[in-house]
Symmetry: C2
Subunit: 251 residues, 2 copies
């Protein structure tokens, strides 16, 4: 998917693991995937996989191990609270054969914040896979924990977004250049032309998306690349081959 | 996750594969996951995994093989149009070592519908993994193709929903019974109590979800089961242990 010759950045790829029965059962609509997909794209990172899995130790463990080795950076969402179904930390520790350890910064923070109310459930949230980094934080909420290349986020969208903003600049890399071509046509009309241009332009990714219920255009073709010059060449070629009267706009 | 003794239905589990670069890059917000999660739950089916992957032959093939063996029924969304990035059928065929074959019903349908406009791109959509079933259809759109236990849906939400409605009754099984308990408390307050009740009630699944910005309640605890009597026992036990003054409502 991400060809090395087309992307020289050090952080190229990301994977996202959404942990939570409530998403799979339709009780809650996932908002974190779209937020992170949008953010990562604007930072230049290719999100290559999203996996939504239950609050299940074995599944979390397997997915964390797989994602950590497959992608440059991994994000998890959910399962970091104080109740029985919050087992993300345990799952990640299991994946790498390390113990859960009480992190001194978290322990101190929770004691300061909760005082006598810092019971076993609260202190459970201070237990992280041995070797985890705690990212400095200024918000009222829980700190962001990072284990190896895995960023462990809470599931509540507002908290996830606050924490992501603490670290987003770590991921910024060379950006994608994108053009959208709006066409008055069906996909069948342009498929043959598109195929020829796709074949010849290795470092440009094309997409074709039908749009329903719009009188002005019926397809958006997207062309994108990390190499601006390659995108310009591909775009010129495509526009040269498409019948001029179906091109509504380019943006 | 789904314990056999707690669920005697023949269709118990489902997996969903969302295929599309446009979701991973944040260009489009996925609506199909939430729709199918909600529908499957109301039919009594446990959706156990959602995977969002790129338009990549190898990834589609691997995921289709994995999901087909892991779950009773599998749904895919996207990648069934006429352009170069529509390779879902090819990926599924590869997963099972079968050829793509032109399906006679689809071939006839497309010829009737498009006449002379039925070019190579259009007819590509008649090529399905050998052995596929075509579900009868009355809508104007493309038919629903089923290969083994894999239901192959288009990515456009309106089309996916229309097609799902053609077959939804195939999946109906024993339903889940669900109770929500709204609490004026923090998760830390109730975690210990919840743990005891969770331990003792094998066939009941509990969830605990913090709610932000609500003055009336701050947690929703969910309890659900396919066995109504077990749910009643667990609920009674939980309500007996929780302090009465934190219970806002049960629904």
């Amino acid at each position: 998917m991400v060809m090395t010759k087309c992307d020289q950045a050090s952080i190229k790829t990301a994977g996202l693991i959404i942990i939570g029965n409530e998403i799979l059962s339709g009780k809650t609509q996932d908002q974190n995937s779209f937020f992170l997909a949008t953010e990562l794209r604007s930072l230049g990172v290719s999100l290559l996989r999203i996996s939504v899995i239950p609050d299940d130790l074995e599944m979390i463990s397997k997915e964390a191990a797989l994602f950590s080795s497959a992608f440059d950076v991994v994000f998890t969402s959910g399962g970091v609270g104080p109740t029985h179904d919050d087992i993300t930390m345990e799952g990640i520790a299991k994946a790498f054969g390390v113990q859960l350890m009480r992190h001194p910064v978290l322990e101190r923070t929770f004691h300061e914040r909760y005082g006598k109310a810092a019971n076993v459930a609260i202190m459970k949230m201070a237990d992280v896979p041995a070797g985890s980094e705690v990212v400095e934080f200024e918000t009222r909420n829980f700190p962001l924990v990072v284990f190896r290349n895995i960023y462990i986020f809470p599931g509540i969208p507002r908290y996830l977004q606050e924490k992501f903003n603490l670290v987003r600049e770590r991921f910024r890399t060379s950006v994608f250049f994108l053009k959208r071509i709006y066409l008055r046509a069906t996909e069948a009309d342009i498929a043959a032309i598109l195929n020829v241009v796709v074949e010849k332009n290795d470092c440009v990714t094309f997409g074709s998306y039908p749009i329903l219920g719009n009188d002005d255009y019926q397809i958006i073709v997207t062309a994108e690349s990390k190499i601006e010059a390659d995108l310009a060449v591909a775009l010129e070629e495509l526009l040269g081959k498409l019948p001029g009267n179906i091109i509504v706009k380019i943006a």
